[in-house]
């Protein structure tokens, strides 16, 4: 997959050099959607899986899928019927995991590639800068996975967020702990360890606030930088404080180091919660899943019954990746793409204002969701009010759904076992 990435970048650079600037509608009548993801850098795994998920989405819209067509109108193939059967062309750009690169790529996609709309950009900090460029140019920006609260608090008119946000997760964790407390588990001493960019800081503070409201006190709060080469001091600090509940908000490289270091220093809490991201990275789950048995997590993906939308998409995706299933990050990217495709179809135009109006009028039912949401409907700030997430637990190298009750496929087992 990295091969394609490089080639895409090269082609992009070559096109730029030759001055081949195309309008939003390419000559063959395809609609261009700009996609900004971390295709290199420390979150490249997540970015590349999301890229494949979006390619699956575009393929379903452009070429159709017989089974999905019964459940989703746009899966009949032949492109977007509302837009003269225009096919969708994805233009990928690498944000390298940095806000500056994300900003530059957004600008390039808008001014050089002339994309009709943007999707991206995984890291909250990068989405923050990239979407600001889209706002300035009046181009719709659909975000699938960045959860920092402030993204929808900027009064933006062109920003739409499909994913559940930090507050939703904080409530899910708090509800989970309430149940555990009622069952007699110790939850008095809570520690929060978070990476210190937009994502970790904002989700961390939302959790602390929500917990305070619900009567849980976060006694220890440790911030660290995600590119740390060593996390032993943090784990030693935790070992000394010995909290009952430990919550991680981490990206992949640090998730790996924490997992390894906790085992090295032989310390674990009674309940360990990880807020998605690094601990959900397929590369992490595959190699270190067995070292975090019993870890509590959240997810937007639950494969559900055979023949359901998530199940069918998952099958196509698994074939494409050669065995890796849809996961929390890739499914949210895919859902964002489907939302944008639906809006483009209803807009019947590549004019930004019409796409924006169509996005505002979005009302997708739960039955068409590939992610585990109750539907998609945006409020005035551009936040999807029907977003939801499930609580999962790591069991035998795989995450299973344990809450809410109506979606659970297994009972929770505690205390945290680890390795």
């Amino acid at each position: 997959m990295a091969k394609t990435t490089r080639r895409m970048t090269m082609t992009g650079a070559a096109a730029l050099a030759a001055g081949l600037i195309r309008p939003a509608m390419a000559q063959d009548g395809a609609v261009k959607i700009g996609v900004i993801y971390p295709l290199s850098g420390n979150s490249a795994t997540a970015g590349n899986y999301s890229k494949m998920a979006l390619e699956v989405g575009a393929d379903v819209v452009n070429n159709g899928n017989a089974d999905l067509a019964k459940l989703i109108p746009l899966a009949k193939g032949g492109g977007l019927p509302g837009l003269k059967n225009a096919k969708i062309q994805l233009v990928f750009a690498d944000n390298q995991g940095t806000p500056a690169a994300g900003q530059n790529q957004a600008l390039r996609l808008i001014t050089e590639e002339k994309v009709a709309a943007l999707i991206g950009a995984y890291q909250s900090g990068v989405t923050l800068t990239a979407s600001a460029i889209a706002e300035r140019h009046g181009i719709p920006f659909v975000n699938g996975e960045s959860v920092a609260a402030n993204l929808t608090e900027r009064g933006f008119k062109w920003f739409f967020r499909v994913t559940p946000v930090a507050l939703d997760f904080a409530r899910a964790y708090s509800d989970f702990l309430k149940v555990q407390k009622a069952a007699g588990r110790k939850t008095d001493n809570i520690a929060l360890v978070h990476e210190n960019t937009e994502y970790g800081n904002s989700v961390g503070s939302v959790i602390v606030d929500q917990f305070k409201k619900d009567g849980f006190a976060v006694g220890t709060k440790i911030a660290y930088s995600a590119n740390s080469s060593d996390v032993q001091p943090q784990v030693l600090q935790l070992k000394e404080k010995n909290p009952d509940v430990l919550i991680f908000i981490s990206y992949t490289s640090d998730a790996i180091l924490y997992t390894k270091t906790m085992k090295e220093l032989n310390w674990k809490p009674g309940i360990m919660i990880a807020d998605n991201a690094g601990f959900n990275d397929p590369a992490f789950v595959k190699s270190l899943g067995s070292q975090v048995e019993g870890l509590i997590n959240r997810s937007a993906f639950s494969a559900g019954k055979a023949g359901s939308v998530p199940d069918l998409f998952n099958k196509i995706y698994t074939k494409k990746t050669g065995g890796d299933e849809l996961d929390d990050v890739s499914v949210r990217g895919l859902q964002a793409f489907m939302v944008l495709a639906d809006a483009l179809n209803r807009a019947g135009s590549t004019e930004p204002a019409k796409i924006q109006a169509a996005l505002k009028a979005t009302d997708l039912p739960a039955s068409q969701m590939v992610a585990g949401y109750d539907g998609v409907k945006f409020d005035d700030k551009g936040q999807n009010v029907k977003a939801a997430s499930v609580v999962t637990q790591m069991r035998g190298g795989k995450y299973v759904t344990i809450a809410p009750k109506e979606r659970a496929t297994a009972e929770v087992i505690l205390p945290y076992k680890g390795w």
Partner: protein, 287 residues
């Protein structure tokens, strides 16, 4: 002294020895030819991938991986010297910097293309897991890397200062023309320096891979530490890199534990600036 404090210091010392291990190759190249190898982090990264490949293909641990990685990266070092460095050394300083920087980008993205972006990790059982000694926790892989770090930096130091071949290498670094008049072939000595640097860097990578994650961009994270260690200890001084590595490791651990992990770099860099203020040549560098 509390047990936790001892643990923090022990962890820091082991970390520092590892820093010294992967910095020694960088300082060797500088000392020999006044060239900063900006692709050093990528050399470490490829050493790490060697270990990952030895594990996935042969199922063998670091004792097989280290020599294989040493040979692989030594070959890469010699190839880089003959194909690139030898030529850019004739150019201006800027060409040298951009030349090895270009090599770094080339290697990094070649790794993306060949290995993919996914993070790889090795099982901790390869080096006997972890154990307790007098209440202090030790991780086998870190102890091995730390001990090898000490051994290799000392060995390089002895070779450079106590052997005939070392004297010849130093002669070339001091005055290549004069050395040539004495019957020493500068290119051969410089290629040897790249081979030695490559070998130690390859071993470093193969040992670090056992307790770290491996990815195409891991070189960036490690290279910064290597540059700080080397300029702290004095460019060109292998022993300096060892002392600097140990100081940085302990200072990082203590400040991360007592002040907070986000501030540890501040403490390290303030110390770094102070050292350069009073000793611009680094702790043990030549003036």
């Amino acid at each position: 002294m509390s047990l936790t404090l001892v643990q923090v210091i022990v962890s820091g010392l082991l970390l520092g020895a590892v820093y010294a291990l992967f910095s020694s190759g960088l300082t060797l190249i500088w000392g020999m030819m006044n060239v900063v190898n900006f692709a050093h982090g990528e050399f470490v990264m490829l050493g790490m991938y060697s270990a990952v490949m030895v594990w996935t293909a042969l199922g063998l641990g670091p004792f097989a991986a280290a020599p294989i990685a040493a040979m692989a990266i030594a070959t890469l070092g010699v190839a880089s010297y003959f194909l690139l460095v030898r030529h850019i050394m004739r150019g201006p300083m800027l060409a040298q910097i951009l030349g090895t920087f270009g090599l770094a980008l080339f290697l990094r993205y070649a790794a993306f293309w060949y290995f993919g972006a996914n993070f790889k990790t090795l099982p901790d059982t390869l080096v006997g897991g972890s154990f307790s000694l007098l209440g202090i926790r030790f991780e086998g892989a870190r102890v091995l890397a730390g001990v090898m770090g000490l051994a290799i930096t000392l060995l390089l130091h002895v070779v450079l200062t106590r052997t005939a071949i070392g004297s010849r290498m130093l002669a070339v670094s001091e005055d290549a023309t004069a050395a040539q008049l004495m019957g020493i072939r500068p290119q051969r000595m410089q290629a040897l320096a790249w081979a030695m640097a490559g070998a130690s860097t390859g071993i470093a990578g193969a040992l670090i891979a056992n307790f770290f994650y491996t990815s195409p961009t891991v070189g960036e994270t490690l290279a910064i530490i290597a540059f700080v260690t080397v300029s702290f200890g004095g460019f060109g001084s292998v022993l300096g890199a060892l002392v600097a590595g140990l100081i940085i490791g302990v200072v990082e651990s203590l400040s991360a534990f007592y002040i907070g992990p986000v501030y540890k770099d501040v403490v390290v860099y303030v110390l770094f600036v102070l050292v350069l203020w009073f000793r611009p040549q680094g702790l043990m560098g030549k003036t």
